[in-house]
Each structure stands twice: as C-alpha cells, then as structure tokens.
Symmetry: C2
Subunit: 245 residues, 2 copies
C-alpha cells in the first residue's frame, strides 16, 4: 500500500499532517518542528465518529503538545471519509429496526464491532508499520487510545499486535470481547462512566475484569457515555508518559 | 485540650514532629525548614495500625516532600499508643469468636467502626483546629486520606466537618455508611482493590455509589486489600495538588 502525505497545517504548536495509506485516510499529529524519533499513540474513534472527531482532536493535540508524542488517527472501516459498503449499510438499517423493536442495543453494537474488527485490525497494523518509517516518528514505543467503538476494535488489535505496549480503553461492555480481552497483556487504563445510559455498568466491569493484563486500572466517574471529565485526558497523558516515555 | 510538641526528627527532607493534643498522640509532617502557611492533609490509618504505620509514613513523606503539604496523622481511638478501653477489648474478643463461628466479617468491621467513630470524629476536629494554629501550617485548604478503617472513620468525619475540601478513601464496603456517605459532597478519589479478600467488590462499589459528591473517581487495581500500587500514591498527590494546591 502506498503512503502519501496529502496536506499539512499547524494549530497551537501541533503539526497535523493528513495522509492516506492505500484507501485508509488518516491524520498524524506531531509537535511543531519535531525531528527525530518519539513514542507513538494510535487513536481509535467512537462509532459514527471519524479521525477528527472532537474527542480525538482534544486527546491528540494534548498528547503531542504536552507529551511530545506522535499521534496517528484513522477513519475506521465504513466511517469518516471511507465508503460504506453494502453489508454495513444493510447492517445499520437492520440495527435501527431491531433497536426500535426493543432488542438489546449492546448485542447489536457488539455485532457491529465484530463486522468491522478484522479490517480495522489489518488497517491499524499497516498504518503502524508505515508511520514508524517517518523520520519524525520512528520505531519507538507505541500506545493505543480507544473508547466505545475504539475499545471494541482496540481489544482485538491489542490481542493481535505485540508492538503496542500500553492502552487506554473503556466505555464498552464485555459482550463479544471476553476471548480477545483475555489475550491482552499490556498495562491498561480502563475508563468507565458510572451513569452510562448506553453501556450497562456491570458489563463494563466485566470487560475490565476479563482483561489479561497484570497491570490494569479502572477509572470510573459520574456522568453519561460522552461525559469523560477533562482531567482523565490529562491523567491518560501521564499514563502514556509512564509506560512509553 | 493542651497541644504539645514532644519531639522532632528529620528524614529525607521531611520534618516529623510528634505531638499530643490532650490524650491524642499524633505526628505532624512538614517539608524541612517549612515557614508560612500550606495546605494540610489529615491521614487516618487502618484497623490495628497506628499513626506511623508504613502506609501512612509513605504517603505522608511523599505529600510533604513532593507536594509541600503539611500532613497530620493521629492514633485512632484504642489504637497505637492510646489505651484500649474495656468495651473495645470486649468487642475485639467477641469479634474473634463470631468470626471463628463463621459470621460475616464485614458486619463486624462495620460495628467496630461504629464503636469508634464518634470519638474519632471529635479527635480529628480538635486536631484540625489545633494544628492550623501552627505558623508553618495555618488555615489553608484541608484534605483527608483514609482507606479501610481510615475510610470507615473518614466518611462520618467528612459528613460532619466542612473544613475538609477533598478526600482519598477506599478499601471498604457500604455497610453502616450509606447515610453519612450521602452527606459527603467534596471531591473524592476512591481506591478499590479488585481482588480484595476482606471487602466484597460489590459492597465497595456500593460505597462509591453512595457518596454524594458530584466529583468522585473510582480507581480499581488488581490485587488484595493491602496491595495498592505505588503509582496510586503518586496519583493521590496530584489529586490533592489539584484540589488543595
């Protein structure tokens, strides 16, 4: 697959370079004027979001500016600038019908992640290889950030990819992930929202429980799915510095 | 009650002053050469422990040396250098018998905290007033640290004492504490050990849930009751700096 840098801009001391790797669109965030190798964080977005969703941008800019990290974000399969295939369109339509009919949304969300995860894992592994060849990234330690769908696609990635050494996950239940979670062995920070109306608390606790990592820490805060407090992003930066810095 | 400083020593940049307030023995930790006011952290020890138990010393020295805090630790009623009254001795004997007979230890622990809490709350409030009169402490912001019994006696203290503005609690279940926990409104960091053989996980989650605070964060880590990872103490320091610094 061909790697191309397509455009570049700088915001508050962080350079954001759009790229494509084959059909995968992405953005690479680095400290302005970065030269030489640095640790890399891969950031997976939530369902229905994309590589420049507000939550991704906030984290990526903080990690690059305050932690001197490189950060790569890509559109997940069938998300953002990527075409939605027929199977996905059919699945989303079907999902709406089944949710309206009162089916358990958790089950449908797990099935959606299952539909995307094989491609998502292959995408991330290819992007990881390509981005590490850049002079201002290099082959230093690698971390992963992904909550909600970013967790649903991140757990299989962590189970498959030994180059990733630490991860922030969360906002998701155990359904469909127990097997791959047990194969995760790197340090994990797991974010849980105590009043999450989309993810039953008990199922999120079970996903934390299922992770095979010897070092894993659950951080639970009041509030709904999208309401992770800002201090947890600062805390995640320190987590990455501790494990990758 | 008369406040007396009884002895003084310095270890690694931290001055430790033994004191008594009436019959309450305590230790005040301050940065060596401290002059002027600074935030104060009160540290409550666990059951069967005392004001200089290893967990208290480790936290107090870190908070004083790295955070420039004053830290006060006292012996809880019937603990450390304080006399055990008849009721307490009878209770402990009775507790051993009932535990040997298979009674729920959580219920007995809650009853023990209940036995001590009125005195413990009065002790802390008096110590707080006395210590804040010292020139190198003063009337700045106040925090509280207490896990296990330190949490069981700390929750009623926080419910009663408006001068305390942030607290680290944990390693305890909800039994006997739901009412006072609901009256706690300050930011709380709650530490839970995922494999705690003394505190059932569900009951600890319920105590976190019962806290009335709008800002509260649960940090859960693998390991048994006494195995809080060292990085949580560093994290607690940042929590106190954020809220009291």
């Amino acid at each position: 697959m061909r790697f191309s840098l397509t455009s570049q801009t700088s915001v508050d001391g962080v350079t954001e370079q759009s790229f494509t790797l084959g059909e995968i669109p992405g953005v690479l965030f680095t400290p302005e004027g970065a030269a030489g190798h640095r640790p890399l964080i891969l950031m997976g977005h939530g369902g229905g979001q994309h590589k420049q969703a507000p939550g991704v941008l906030a984290g990526a800019r903080l990690f690059a500016s305050k932690g001197d990290f490189a950060v790569a974000a890509i559109d997940a399969p069938c998300h953002g600038d990527r075409p939605k295939n027929e199977q996905f369109i059919r699945f989303v339509g079907d999902m709406r019908t089944r949710m309206a009919a009162g089916e358990d949304p958790g089950e449908l969300v797990a099935a959606m992640h299952d539909l995307l995860s094989e491609q998502a894992v292959a995408d991330w592994r290819a992007v990881l290889t390509a981005v590490r060849e850049l002079d201002h990234v290099g082959d230093g330690p690698v971390g992963y950030w992904g909550v909600s769908m970013g967790c649903g696609l991140g757990v299989p990635l962590l189970a498959a990819e030994p180059r990733i050494r630490a991860a922030v996950l969360g906002l998701l239940g155990v359904r469909g992930l127990a097997g791959s979670a047990a194969r995760v062995t790197v340090p994990v920070r797991f974010l849980l929202q105590w009043d999450d109306t989309r993810v039953p608390r008990q199922q999120a606790l079970e996903l934390f429980d299922a992770l095979g990592s010897a070092e894993k820490t659950l951080h639970a805060n009041p509030g709904d799915h999208g309401e992770i407090p800002a201090f947890e992003i600062e805390d995640a930066l320190r987590f990455f510095v501790r494990h990758l810095g």
